[in-house]
Amino acid sequence: MDRFVFLTLDGLSRGAVYAAFALALVLIWRAARIVNFAQGAMAVAAAYAAYSVSAATGSYWLGFAAALATGLLLGAVVDVAVMRFVDHRSPLNPVIVALGLVLLIQAVLGMVYGNEFRPAQTPFSRTAFTIGGVAALSPYDVFVFAAVGVVGAALAWIFTRTAVGLRMRAAAFAPDVSRLLGVNVGGMLTLGWALASGVGALAAMLVIPTELGLHPHAMDLVFVSAFTAAVVGGLDSPPGAIVGGLGVGLLLSHVSGFAGSDLVPLAVLVLLLAVLLVRPGGLFAPVTARRV
């Protein structure tokens, strides 16, 4: 029973990270109708920026801030400098370009920092509290929940209550009509990319310290897990991404606990296949069709 509680809480903590990353994927899907396969690589780049800044200043939080800033900037740059020029009529083109970005970003990181694993700091302890003799959450887990919760709430507030958010939604749902209403659709798209990339950077900062360490391929499996989460929830649904993320986190945690961590990647693959074959639209697939 203790083990179950521990695995569940640990799973929710991982799940929160997957939820954040899945949210980033859903953001870009809704705005630009592409799955950003480069999201993981972009997030790792932001984490490396944090590493450099922390190493130079000795402060974790300055590095954290640098990661978020890098994420935002990188997202905007990728949209303006690369994605803007891709012919979106063929659905393969943006995917292939994103994969090219993956190769490029990971290679540049490898050239600058090397491919070894580097230790990643945590600002809080990862030792779990014990409540009544049962191992529960650690301070770090609480930090993860808080960070993801704050970011999620902030995004929800931005999109539903601000003028900018309204513009972004309108630009995503009906770009031509929005232009006629004076909305700078291109700018809104770039903003969407920036926000999504920032969230991805946050997810990387939260998850990498819990893994083997920082290296160019650190986010590959996270991407696959978060993609699975986004698909489970439905690519069009932000609440779905969160539920999907938590679900995937729980599943993987229990698989790891009861069957060994070796089987985790396989479990992700099986889950992804199962969802795509049974309910391709995801659990939260919206009913209304999208108008232009």
Binding site: F173, L181, G182
Partner: protein, 244 residues
């Protein structure tokens, strides 16, 4: 009616050529909309009416010709800037954003304005004008009926307090009663606020009841321009150009 009078025209289109791909759809189109006038562009399917409006608002880039709004060249202006210059375009199918609420759709129409107070005032005026919209403020766009969407699309354009309104087939898919109401409303707005309207319609009869001027297009060219009354009443003209 054509030729001179450029000084008094709100919108002047000269020799407009536009199309998709190799062959142009519009061939040297000339058109004038005087301030405070309602001009109806009529013609069969494929005449290029929708293409004309898209070229005017910049969704389609013209390859030749001039578009002058109050004497200023409009060609090359980014689409987002049009509404700031006083031109509002309600596209074919009305363009109500189904995923947003009525309130959000209307807010969107006025977001570009710096004068927030006046934008809010304009929105309230729209609610007064279209009472059903006020009742269904929180409903999503796709939950509205055809007539209500018409009101929403019009209201959203009016929130920007435009000088010129481009309307693409407002009668499409609507009951005759609703169409009549819409046309009467356009006249009302013109009389009250001096709003100029460029109206594109397949439903010739209803368009000509409200218009001052009629422009007949066929296969991308302007075939004739005449006062609407003449097009309505002169049987020969009607037979020749409108087929009834």
């Amino acid at each position: 009616m054509s030729g001179d009078g450029a000084a008094g025209d709100l919108l002047a289109v000269e020799g407009l050529v536009a199309g998709y791909g190799a062959a142009p759809v519009l061939h040297a189109v000339d058109l004038r909309v005087p301030a405070g006038a309602i001009v109806a562009v009529v013609g069969a399917n494929g005449a290029g009416k929708t293409t004309l409006l898209r070229a005017l608002s910049g969704l389609l880039r013209p390859t030749a010709g001039r578009i002058l709004l109050d004497g200023e060249e409009l060609r090359g202006t980014p689409v987002e800037q049009l509404v700031r210059r006083g031109m509002a375009h309600v596209p074919e199918g009305r363009g109500v954003i189904g995923e947003l609420t009525v309130e959000e759709n209307l807010r969107l129409g006025g977001l570009w304005r710096r004068d927030r107070a006046d934008a809010d005032r304009a929105r309230e005026e729209v609610y007064e004008l279209f009472e059903p919209l006020a009742r269904r403020r929180r409903h999503l766009g796709h939950q509205l009926s055809g007539g209500e969407r018409q009101m929403l699309a019009l209201g959203r354009a009016l929130v920007a307090r435009p000088r010129l309104l481009l309307l693409d087939e407002p009668s499409l898919g609507l009951a005759p009663r609703v169409v009549a109401q819409t046309m009467a409303l356009l006249r009302q707005l013109r009389d009250r606020t001096g709003l100029a309207v460029l109206l594109v319609e397949q439903n010739v009869r209803s368009a000509l009841t409200v218009a001052d001027q009629g422009v007949v297009m066929s296969l991308g060219r302007v075939v004739t321009t005449a006062p609407a009354a003449r097009l309505r009443d002169d049987a020969d003209l009607r037979h020749a150009y409108l087929g009834f």
